[in-house]
């Protein structure tokens, strides 16, 4: 393999750039969706929630996946100090993903659905993603240099790639009548796959953030340490076995629920560790807070804590009975995908883009303003969803049979708070993301121009 140079980095940057654009695109649909909560029937015939929700969810899921891949690939090269095995394959994979994502978006616009949660597109569009992912696995295996004495993040990256592939395939088992014919069986397998799939992209992203943490603190001991591996194996254990908490109220086999309940409780160990390390975390945060990337890592730390707390509570079946089927689930999902995944990815992207022709620091003022807007509004956003969820939960449990639409009307104060905070959340994210997109575009333009001049003077 060739030693690492900047060669081919622009292909990897394309993954990240596309991801950033998808984030902005997805936010617009998120805001539209929240407006439909306040104005029932808004755009019912042209852009009903049926289209808006998948446009939002798929765009942001692809933001997470593509940015996760871009960061992992960048850091893999920095770690091995070698270039990726095949850039051509990487480019091919990018083209496949881009074409597929565009086709998925078009299919939503046209109202063609496959109607499974999160992947609401017609099933044949999963095929190119699957093959693209095989290319990725091949490239990774050829590039990572074996298991010998590897830090924890390499283990996490490989775990993420392999498990995504498996769970993605598993999520299409419903195409076979054997799995589809009974709703209980179908939903059991569906949520088995989704539960682990989320865990697998978390592995990719957490791996890269540990790499970044090492880089910032200039200390590699942590990622080789025993505790890092204990945490990794706890995470892996949960990825594999805790998915049952999605389906506690489904009349499926009881052993699935018992295993999940028990396994989920090992996450208490993760919470305990965060509390135990609190002072240490805060003092590291104080020391490094002037580093832009680090701020996002620190915010993610805070959200890991809140999310884990909520997750562990929701993993107790008796509590889940109340939260299930309400916006508390949405609070949990968006809290995690924004507060943890998006914040970590932004920390990484800021670091990755810092070696562009314009340094990210140039936009520090606006990014920091955006950062605070995002954090404050996310808290309100999260609380308003939890508030709406608690009210709905009381409705679900009450003996009075108030009609659904009256109950939804009663929730409108929460939905208004949800919309307003969501709007500011999107503005804040835009203030962070826009400079990043701009930097890459300007640098690309400069690069193209200068190669044009070189070409002319030759």
């Amino acid at each position: 393999m060739e030693p690492y140079t900047n060669k081919g980095k622009s292909i990897i940057d394309l993954y990240i750039l596309t991801a950033l654009c998808l984030l902005i695109f997805g936010l617009l649909w998120g805001i539209t969706g929240s407006l439909q909560y306040i104005f029932p029937g808004l755009m019912r015939d042209r852009f009903s929630f049926q289209k808006v929700r998948p446009l939002h969810v798929s765009s942001v899921v692809f933001w997470i996946i593509l940015a996760g891949l871009g960061s992992m690939l960048t850091y893999l090269q920095q770690h091995t100090k070698r270039v990726i095995y095949s850039y051509r394959l990487l480019l091919l994979q990018y083209c496949i993903f881009l074409l597929t994502v565009v086709s998925i978006i078009i299919s939503y616009f046209l109202g063609r659905f496959g109607g499974r949660e999160y992947w609401e597109h017609p099933p044949y569009l999963a095929l190119p993603i699957f093959f693209g992912w095989i290319f990725l696995l091949f490239n990774f295996v050829k590039s990572f240099g074996g298991f010998k004495n590897q830090p924890v993040y390499v283990w996490m990256w490989l775990t993420g790639i392999v498990f995504f592939l498996f769970t993605y395939l598993e999520s299409y088992l419903w195409l076979l009548p054997y799995f589809r014919n009974n709703i209980i069986n179908d939903m059991t397998v569906q949520w088995k796959s989704y539960g682990s799939m989320v865990g697998s992209w978390n592995m990719l992203i957490y791996g890269s953030s540990i790499f970044l943490m090492d880089k910032i603190t200039n200390n590699k001991d942590i990622s080789y340490s025993k505790i890092a591996f204990v945490l990794y194996f706890t995470g892996l254990f949960n990825l594999m076995f805790n998915w049952g908490h999605h389906i506690y109220t489904l009349p499926t086999a009881p052993y699935i629920k018992h295993i999940s309940y028990t396994v989920s409780m090992t996450e208490l160990f993760l919470i305990g560790r965060i509390i135990f390390n609190w002072r240490n975390t805060v003092s590291t945060a104080k020391r490094n807070f002037n580093i832009l990337s680090f701020r996002f890592l620190a915010a993610a730390d805070f959200w890991v804590f809140l999310t884990l707390l909520l997750a562990v509570l929701m993993s107790i079946p008796g509590i889940n009975l109340y939260t299930h089927g309400t916006h508390i689930t949405v609070a949990h999902t968006m809290g995690a995908t924004i507060g943890i995944n998006t914040f970590l990815l932004l920390a990484i992207v800021i670091d990755v883009f810092n070696d562009s022709c314009i340094r990210v620091e140039k936009y520090k003022a606006i990014i920091i303003r955006g950062y605070w807007i995002v954090n404050i509004s996310l808290l309100v956003f999260w609380l308003s969803l939890i508030g709406a969820g608690l009210e709905k939960s009381m409705w679900q449990m009450s003996k009075l049979q108030i009609s659904y639409s009256i109950m939804m009307q009663n929730l409108s104060p929460y939905f208004i708070a949800f919309f307003i905070s969501g709007f500011f959340l999107a503005i804040g994210l835009f203030m962070v993301v826009y400079p990043l997109i701009r930097i890459k575009f300007v640098c690309k333009l400069k690069q193209t121009k200068s190669s044009y001049y070189v070409f002319q003077s030759n």
Binding site: F113, W155, N182, V189, K192, F233, M240, I256
Partner: protein, 133 residues
Amino acid sequence: MFSDRNKYVLAMFLVGGFIIYTFQLYNSLPVKQIAVSQAADDGKILWQKKNCISCHQIYGLGGYLGPDLTNVYSKKGAVYISAILRGGTNIMPNMDLTDSEIEELLAYLKDVDQSGKADPRTFTINTNGTIHQ
């Protein structure tokens, strides 16, 4: 310390457990195969093609703009459901469904209804935190 060897062993142990768990689940699915009618299966595919799950939930899972439909069939009946499907509501678009499509969706919703009860009020909480119906 974790030696490389210990890491492999632990990883293989977990992966092995995962594979066994997975295939044992596939092999003996929670509900033994019940033959499903063609209409209900068509209804399920149609349910997915129309993306009803983006607004509705089955067993509490789905989008949250509209109500859970797991037991709507036994609670509200076929006549009411077909009326809603035919006309849409304030929020739910009219999807121009044909009579046979409505029949298929009804067969699907009936099938779902018979699979169990999703209403949280039908559960009791045990002292160890688990629940039963």
